[in-house]
């Protein structure tokens, strides 16, 4: 029986899709069969982030409307044997989704895969509802700014009131330089406000944008980058390993030159 985890945030642009793709890929690398589901019906993105847009034939709405079987809609990743994408539909609205059917789809996927990751859309409307309903666990993605933390607080409240869940926090785009200058919310104050356990702190990393635009997943394309390393730790923590969270000091200027020389 697989585990179903929803990746959600409330606010848009904090990195839900990036986290879904990278954590999914890392879990697959750990040898777990994984499905990532794009629940952003009408504004799909996960397929382009993974570089699979040309291979999409059917999507989740086709499955819901019985045009095809689930297995036909799943798209295998370019590099990873046991990573699959269930794409969203671009021509439907979130209101078209029958939540019970989504739950059915997830239940049948749970029987065949180790992990099902649901990439939730921004907002707390029906799209959010349909991605949270089938899940038993949640990853909340926040960036260290007040609006993101406020939205995350709201989302955690809604999820808690549904009576489900172990909820973990992923802090994304954490810039220790800015934090040290008191220009960014620090780790402790985010935890203090939200009161849930962090499962990873992903440093600000320009290679994320680069790999996204190339249609490659960061952990595949640049596994040595700081963000990729943290994604791999998150996947291992999800798997149950106890690895303490360490926020690394960014290397100084000379360190960076030295590192470049090594490559």
């Amino acid at each position: 029986m697989g585990r179903t985890i929803v990746v959600t945030a409330g606010k848009g642009g904090v990195g839900k899709t990036t986290v879904t793709a990278n954590v999914g890929a890392m879990l697959a690398k750990l040898g777990k069969s994984t499905v990532v589901m794009d629940m952003d019906i009408g504004l799909r993105n996960l397929d382009v982030v993974m570089g699979l847009e040309n291979r999409v034939v059917y999507n989740i709405m086709d499955v819901i409307e019985n045009h095809c079987k689930i297995q036909q809609a799943l798209v295998r990743d370019k590099h990873l044997e046991n990573l699959f994408l269930l794409p969203a539909s671009q021509i439907h609205n979130k209101e078209d989704v029958d939540i019970d059917k989504v739950v059915d789809i997830v239940n049948s996927l749970e029987g065949n895969f180790d992990y099902v990751l649901l990439d939730s859309p921004a907002g707390i409307e029906k799209g959010f509802e349909s991605s949270v309903s089938p899940a038993k666990e949640a990853l909340i993605v926040v960036t260290p700014d007040v609006s993101s933390v406020r939205d995350a607080d709201r989302v955690v409240g809604i999820i808690e009131s549904k009576g489900i869940f172990s909820i973990s926090l992923v802090i994304n785009r954490y810039d220790l330089n800015l934090v040290n200058k008191n220009k960014m919310l620090n780790f402790e104050s985010i935890i203090d406000i939200l009161g849930i356990d962090a499962i990873g702190v992903i440093p600000e990393d320009k290679s994320v944008i680069e790999t996204t635009n190339r249609g490659e997943i960061l952990v595949n394309y640049m596994p040595g980058s700081p963000a990729a390393k943290e994604f791999s730790l998150i996947a291992r923590r999800i798997e149950g390993e106890t690895i303490p969270i360490k926020i690394e000091e960014p290397r100084n200027f000379f360190g960076q030159i030295f590192k470049r020389g090594m490559q």
Binding site: R150, D153, R154, G157, E160, S161, I193, G195
Partner: protein, 204 residues
């Protein structure tokens, strides 16, 4: 013979009146008999016990509570026209065992206990007291008083008065905010209210 215990319905509320002078043994047995006869009537309900001026000891209250607990009835006490305040046995208390988060509203007729914070844009409203075992960063409205480990609130209202108060960001000490006798809100650290234990000198 006069009934020791009488049951009345007033304004949709069930009122259980106890004879003020009869011995407690008799009162207790009558209540038990009443409940046994009509357990379906009482089950899961709420009633007010009017002691008509009689004062009940802690133990007597407990034994009455015992009877009602068995069939899921909650009750409150009315002692000589004055509803018991504070948190006596039987007062309605709502316990929220987590943080009240942004967008959540807790509204309750009675006391509210929050085991966690009240986060920004969370709202708690109680007709009596609110106790927060955490920091208030949202809005809290209470009829009588508010106790919390920190106030960085968006709005504190006691009765109809709004208070503009705050404690320092890092402090986690209990403070109480209540309506004074002259209709002014009093805000003070809770320590001032308790009796300080006698301190022994180094040689004592």
């Amino acid at each position: 013979m006069k009934n020791v215990v009488t049951l009345k319905g007033i304004n949709g509320e069930v009122l259980l009146m106890i004879d003020p002078v009869a011995p407690f043994e008799e009162v207790f047995h009558s209540i038990r008999e009443l409940v046994q006869k009509g357990s379906n009537f009482f089950r899961g309900g709420f009633l007010t016990i009017d002691t008509q001026g009689r004062s009940l000891s802690e133990e007597e209250l407990k034994s009455i509570e015992e009877i009602f607990k068995g069939i899921g009835v909650s009750f409150r006490l009315n002692r000589g026209g004055e509803l018991l305040g504070g948190a006596p046995i039987g007062e309605k208390v709502l316990t929220v065992e987590r943080t009240v988060r942004s967008g959540q509203l807790i509204r309750f007729d009675g006391n509210v206990v929050i085991l966690g914070n009240v986060n920004p844009d969370g709202v708690v409203e109680a007709t009596n007291d609110v106790f927060v075992f955490g920091v208030i960063k949202g809005k809290v409205k209470a009829g009588r008083r508010i106790v919390a480990l920190g106030f960085q609130s968006q709005g504190i209202i006691i009765g109809t008065l709004e208070a503009n108060i705050s404690t320092s960001e890092k402090s986690r000490k209990p403070h109480i905010c209540e309506l004074g006798k002259d209709g002014v809100i009093i805000f003070s650290p809770l320590e001032g209210k308790e009796l300080k234990p006698a301190r022994r000198g180094k040689n004592g």
